[in-house]
């Protein structure tokens, strides 16, 4: 059993290594045809001359050489245009992104020709290795029950060097994905056929991301099923959150594209889905007939009615740990790191500021966008709407949600984004705190203050603080993962939806010795 695990680890690491190193494989040569396929007519017009001299049909060993040449002619052309004051011809697109698309067109040789082999050696090995590593735990971990042995004794789950390396790897991957996609050209090529089969289009970097996201969540869900198999709540929850990732976030949008409908993740609610009310999206939906209009209405209904109503009945958990993609990854890939969330009062204070500021930012940005959309202006109070959106997209959408949100898992816990940044979580948190039927009930006087609940709260809630004084937990940040209840050795905590009356008890009585309790001095 143990040797299967070790072999699995070796296979997994081989797959991961290959997946990483593949950036250095293959060759690249851009044809006139590929050049025309990727660029817009305006760009072709601007760049054709320079490109013929110093880009087209040149053979490159690495993508970044091609990208560097392209960026050079791109800058040069723009400078010339600006010097000529041909403002309408100046190009504002991101040359890094175009480089990525060009590199993919330019690829030839060992990676492109043997895509399926490379796919198997990287993704296949990764999945098979991970499963071989995890499945023996069914036996090795013994009977169903809490399996937290050695979490603080292992390098990887106790912020050892492996955790730091993992963090930098994840951060690095996100930086490449968002800002230097041409470095991932070969990885995108590997999933090209999958994308073609689903949507009929070649893979983009976002397809690669979505594919990896789904595969990783699915594989790590297996780990969850093994680890928490004593708890039907955790089993059902993990199954459902993966279902939403696979179906709603990954397959349905791709299939929509195949049928010439707009790409849409039906569960991704504003303001997490911050660009839903952007001009281009609204225009796109309106232009796409009944289906597009339905999507527009659905998006509004989702954010304005379904989100608050469901949060009233079930707390924000219905979304955060049952439906959401970010939550889904945090609950699967991030589960081994849940203990790293900061439980200090300072962190709680910081959290309330940061998450609500992001919410305000999202609301202001959306409001400005809609105002501009209605009025036909592109400025609000002298600030360019596009600039606000770009800033939000860069700071919040990419850096906070992606680079920090996932990259920080191994050191700062799996819910950094959800806790400190997600505007949808903030929105639902307000409902959960003030108008909801959800609470974590504390079981009278049974708490022994051991601290398992607080330690394993991924949202950094000091659950024990409430449990040991017999107080229900109605914190806005609780995503209802249910792990506090699972790890409690004395059966003290229960997530439940019940009547609002009595939900919040600020001065609880701990059962056991009524007449000495602080809350009701008059009882004796």
């Amino acid at each position: 059993m143990k040797s299967i695990k070790q072999l699995g680890l070796i296979i997994f690491l081989s797959g991961l290594t290959l997946f990483t190193l593949i950036s250095f494989f293959g060759s690249f040569s851009l044809s006139q045809e590929g050049f025309e396929k990727v660029l817009t007519p305006k760009q072709i017009n601007n760049l054709q001359g320079l490109a013929s001299e110093n880009l087209l049909n040149k053979e490159y060993r690495f993508t970044w050489q091609l990208a560097s040449d392209f960026k050079m002619i791109f800058e040069e052309s723009n400078q010339n245009l600006k010097a000529e004051e041909s403002w309408s011809k100046v190009m504002y697109s991101d040359p890094n992104e175009i480089s990525g698309n060009l590199a993919k067109e330019a690829a030839f040789g060992m990676v492109k020709d043997w895509r399926w082999l490379w796919f198997f050696l990287s993704f296949g090995f990764g999945i098979i290795g991970a499963l071989m590593y995890m499945l023996p735990d069914l036996k090795l971990l013994g009977k169903p029950g809490i399996k937290n042995n050695h979490i603080y004794q292992r390098n990887v789950t106790n912020r050892g060097w492996i955790a730091w390396v993992t963090m930098f790897y994840l951060i690095g991957f996100y930086l490449l994905l968002y800002f230097f996609p041409y470095l991932l050209t070969n990885q995108i090529l590997l999933v090209d056929d999958v994308s073609l089969a689903l949507s009929g289009n070649p893979a983009s970097r976002w397809f690669l991301y979505g594919f990896m996201y789904t595969v990783i969540m699915g594989t790590m869900a297996v780990r969850m099923f093994i680890k928490y198999r004593h708890s039907p709540y955790q089993m059902v929850r993990t199954g459902v959150v993966f279902f939403f990732q696979l179906g709603f976030a990954f397959l349905i949008p791709e299939i929509l594209v195949r049928f010439n409908q707009p790409y849409m993740d039906f569960k991704n609610a504003w303001p997490l889905n911050y660009n839903f009310f952007f001009e281009w999206n609204i225009n796109n939906l309106i232009a796409n007939g009944q289906m597009g209009q339905f999507m527009l209405v659905w998006g509004i209904v989702l954010a304005a009615i379904i989100v608050p109503v469901f949060s009233y009945f079930f707390g924000k958990r219905w979304y955060c740990s049952w439906v959401c993609g970010c939550g889904g990854l945090a609950e699967t890939l991030g589960d081994p790191y849940r203990q790293h969330s900061d439980k200090s009062l300072f962190a709680w204070k910081f959290e309330r500021w940061s998450i609500h500021l992001v919410l305000v930012f999202a609301v202001v940005m959306t409001g400005a966008g809609l105002y501009a959309f209605n009025s036909g202006l592109d400025q609000v109070l002298g600030i360019g709407v596009h600039n606000i959106q770009k800033t939000y997209g860069f700071l919040i959408g990419s850096i906070f949600a992606g680079v920090i949100g996932t990259g920080f898992y191994p050191i700062f816990g799996n819910r950094v984004w959800c806790r400190f940044g997600c505007p949808l979580a903030a929105y639902m948190g307000l409902i959960q705190r003030f108008k909801s039927r959800f609470r974590i009930t504390t079981n009278g006087g049974q708490c022994i203050s051991c601290g398992n609940c607080s330690t394993y709260c991924e949202q950094g809630i000091d659950v024990r603080w409430y449990a040991q004084r017999g107080q229900n937990i109605v914190r806005s940040s609780c995503v209802g993962c249910g792990v506090c209840s699972s790890v409690c050795p004395r059966g003290v905590l229960k997530l439940e939806n019940g009547p609002e009356e009595g939900r919040i008890n600020d001065n609880p009585i701990i059962i056991g010795h009524k007449h000495a309790s602080l809350a009701k001095p008059s009882l004796d």
Binding site: G145, I151, P232, G444, Q446, I448, C450, S454, G491, K494
Partner: protein, 454 residues
């Protein structure tokens, strides 16, 4: 009124609860003394530190800044002697400290019954942070096989701890069943079976320790069993046959001692302005029917602290605990108990026991034969709502009522199977009764829960 300095010896749950409840009612100076740790930590979580579930700092229920914020002075030192005449506490290192009121919350220490070789290295109980450290030191030296003596709650915790580090465990239990002096036969057998079958503990029932042998370095190498004379080799010996009050430093001080520090219902000792509570206190009269005169449970320590905090603030309050409850976890089996369930029932009592045919899930009710009044409940693998149990037991509700509304009482997480149907069916068959299981009603639950609201 002149402010008075309360000095509390011991920073466990009893001492700390006393300090907190006093602080909520008074601004007078409070000092808590401990030689064991800088701050209050949860003793019950020691096992989780060892198993790697938590770090020491995670077991501290309050942030370190809490004490300063609440103006509770902390002093880390061991107390060597108390001068009751001059109201002075003497320390191992620092200067003596004057008190106006003294609270003794010194807890307990593991029992050692004078076995030959009991002072060998690698022989220890599990009570304090220092015990945990010495266990870690033993692990560093290398432990392959351990023997544990004493079949109670700490013993089973120690077994789980050692097994998590790959140590083979042999468990010597004096009774004919695990925890047989507390649990009825069926439950004790179920737990024993779980330990042996699912966790491969070498459980030896009705076995007592005879003597301990050490190697030339003085480290334990084997134990001899009294009944059979068998020698079991081991390189670690856990002694967990209960604990007794930690009062050695008070001998001959004039304080009235027996097994513990003698106190009345107000937790007052024979010395004026000196109080004792928690594990180290012994009541002149047990605090209630069926209760012992030394209560060494987390919960009772906390409740005594609540009372004493109130008393010290000038509002004299007797310790009169309500319905008994307790909980534990035996490897994977959670256990809760409410009211009184003893290994054997009295003549006018009847018991009902249900066990899941396959899993380690069980429920026991004890009730009065004539009136059907519910007296106690044992639950294994089923979580129950404390408030509701407290209510039904203190209001003398019936076993029938409990079963009828069983779904209200269950506190398991959502999506867990509720076994109410099988349980009620078996009860009806066994007692030729017609209890009808109701569906869960928030209205009913709410009425009880909201009684406890301000």
């Amino acid at each position: 009124m002149k402010s008075s300095h309360t000095v509390i010896i011991g920073n466990g749950i009893s001492g700390v609860t006393t300090a907190r409840h006093l602080r909520k009612r008074s601004n007078d100076p409070i000092t808590i003394i401990s030689g064991e740790s800088d701050h209050f930590y949860s003793r019950t979580a020691l096992m989780y530190i060892f198993m790697g579930h938590m770090r020491y700092k995670d077991t501290k229920p309050y942030e370190d800044s809490f004490w300063k914020k609440n103006k509770i002075n902390l002093r880390k030192d061991w107390v060597t002697k108390i001068d009751f005449e001059n109201q002075l506490v003497h320390f191992h290192q620092g200067n003596p400290m004057k008190y106006d009121k003294l609270v003794l919350a010194t807890g307990s220490k593991p029992n050692k019954f004078g076995w030959t070789g009991q002072e060998s290295l690698g022989v220890q109980g599990l009570y304090s942070l220092q015990d945990l450290e010495s266990m870690e030191a033993a692990m560093k030296r290398g432990v392959k096989k351990a023997v544990i003596v004493g079949g109670g709650l700490i013993g089973v915790e120690m077994a789980e701890m050692l097994q998590s580090r790959g140590v083979e465990v042999c468990f010597l239990v004096r009774e004919s069943r695990f925890w047989g002096n507390v649990l009825p036969r069926e439950e004790a057998e179920m737990i024993g079976h779980h330990m042996v079958k699912d966790h491969h503990v070498d459980l030896r029932l009705e076995k007592n320790l005879d003597s301990i042998q050490a190697d030339e370095e003085g480290w334990v190498k084997s134990v001899k069993i009294k009944e059979t004379g068998e020698i079991i080799e081991c390189d670690f010996l856990g002694l967990t046959p209960g604990v007794s009050p930690n009062i050695d430093f008070l001998k001959d001080s004039g304080l009235d001692l027996d097994r513990g520090i003698m106190v009345n219902e107000y937790l007052e000792t024979n010395k004026e302005n000196v109080y004792a509570l928690g594990d180290c206190a012994q009541f002149l009269r047990p605090p209630g029917k069926n209760r012992r005169n030394i209560e060494q449970v987390w919960y009772t320590g906390r409740m005594m602290g609540e009372c004493l905090g109130k008393t010290l603030s000038g509002n004299k309050t007797p310790y009169k605990p309500g319905v008994w409850f307790n909980s534990a976890k035996f490897f994977d089996i959670e256990y809760q108990t409410y009211g009184w369930v003893f290994p054997r029932q009295e003549e006018d009592q009847t018991t009902f026991f249900w066990k899941h045919p396959k899993k380690d899930i069980a429920l026991r009710l004890v009730f009065k034969t004539q009136s059907n009044q519910l007296l106690g409940v044992n639950a294994f693998g089923i979580r129950l709502r404390h408030q509701l149990l407290d209510e039904i037991l203190s209001s003398k509700g019936s076993a029938r009522e409990f079963l009828r509304y069983f779904k209200d009482y269950v506190f398991d997480p959502e999506f867990f199977t509720n076994h109410g149907r099988e349980i009620v069916k078996e009860y009806n068959q066994e007692f030729e009764d017609f209890v009808e299981l109701k569906s869960k009603s928030w209205n009913r639950i709410k009425t009880v829960l909201n009684k406890n609201l301000r």
